[in-house]
């Protein structure tokens, strides 16, 4: 009897062993990878130099002209802001080591890109960066090839002329950083 049972079990096993796989469904994984795009490119005016050499310029300052304009483009796949700040707390004289206040240098934003800062604004230092495009609460809309211009002018503020500051002749320098921040 045991042998008979063993035989039947072997036969059943043989039947199962030759079964075919039948496939009537398939799983398709879908993966989406977003590689963030954040690009800020200064296209013109990466080195701005004001030369003050007349009394009129000391008293009335130097208004914006093409050579005092920084142009940059932004491409961003996220809403964004652009911050701007000076590397130093003041301009630093290269010969004398004396300083000149940052707020002698002021700027107006222009260009076709959205959400540019309005009005005439002074350059600020790192600790108090200025949001020149968008704000933390209302960032600029994402997009590609968004053009902006920074129209610089020096010493044009009434009652705050370079003459009144009594600055010695020197070359006053600082670096200005533009920072693209996704929101």
């Amino acid at each position: 009897m045991r042998k008979l049972l063993l035989g039947v079990a072997m036969l059943l096993f043989a039947q199962m062993g030759f079964g075919q796989a039948i496939k009537d469904n398939a799983v398709i994984p879908v993966s989406i990878t977003l590689n963030s795009i954040l690009r800020l490119t200064v296209t013109s005016g990466g080195n701005i130099q004001f030369v003050v050499n007349t009394i009129d310029q000391y008293t009335g300052g130097i208004s914006n002209q093409d050579q005092y304009t920084t142009m940059f483009t932004v491409s961003s796949s996220r809403d964004f802001i652009v911050e701007m700040y000076a590397e130093d707390a003041t301009f630093v004289g290269q010969e004398t080591g004396l300083t000149m206040d940052l707020d002698f240098l002021r700027f107006t934003m222009a260009g076709t890109g959205p959400s540019a800062l309005a009005g005439l604004n002074p350059l600020t230092a790192a600790g108090s960066a200025t949001e020149i495009v968008g704000t933390s609460g209302t960032p600029a809309d994402a997009g590609g090839q968004l053009d902006y211009e920074i129209l610089w002018e020096l010493g044009t503020e009434a009652g705050n002329s370079l003459l009144e500051a009594n600055l010695p002749a020197d070359i006053y320098i600082t670096n200005v950083f533009l920072s693209l921040v996704p929101q």
Binding site: A14, Q20, K23, D24, P29, V30, N35, S77, G144
Partner: protein, 182 residues
């Protein structure tokens, strides 16, 4: 000695019946669904991708080969295994399933009635015969006994739209493709 002889008798019996069983059971699979290109990867890496989306043309090739004795026809269904295309991070940024367009094209078929469901919309599963929108392609013909099996070949194009202002990272969903009789 007697035990050894019995063992060999059963062994021969086993092999004989086993192989004869193989011959008896050898037949065309009743349903066979083969998929080439069964991993879909959308890689957004340029502004053009972010602005206009990505299309993966004829990305998946599906070959269906089956026999059945029913009279109501067949359906190829697709549904998702989740209700969204999930972002690896905050679920706020999940993508809606209907944003993923699935566009089939029948490139060969011996079922003249095979047709594409123009109302197909990707939705969450499971299989539900009362949801016609799950049907991607369907037909009315069958095959009986020794008739040749129904064979259809389909290519599928996938399209996903603009992703501006979506956070970078991985988004994922599984699709289930199912061949059923109506």
């Amino acid at each position: 000695m007697n035990t050894v002889r019995t063992f060999f008798i059963f062994l021969i019996l086993f092999l004989a019946i086993g192989f004869s069983s193989n011959k008896l059971k050898a037949q065309d699979p009743l349903k066979d669904l083969r998929v080439i290109g069964n991993f879909i990867q959308f890689n957004y890496s340029t502004l053009n991708h972010f602005n206009n989306g990505i299309e993966l043309t004829d990305w998946t090739r599906v070959r269906i080969r089956f026999k059945y004795t029913g009279t109501n026809g067949w359906e190829l269904r697709i549904f998702a295994l989740s209700n969204k295309i999930h972002f690896e991070g905050n679920s706020t940024y999940d993508i809606e399933l209907e944003d993923l367009e699935i566009i089939p094209n029948i490139i060969s078929s011996n079922d003249a009635s095979a047709s594409i469901n123009i109302d197909f919309t990707l939705g969450q599963g499971p299989y539900n015969p009362s949801i016609p929108d799950q049907v991607l392609v369907s037909g009315n013909e069958g095959t009986v006994l020794e008739d040749p099996p129904v064979e259809i070949e389909i290519v599928i194009t996938y399209r996903l739209g603009p992703m501006m202002n979506k956070p970078e990272g991985i988004y994922f969903v599984n699709l289930n493709m199912l061949l059923v009789e109506k």
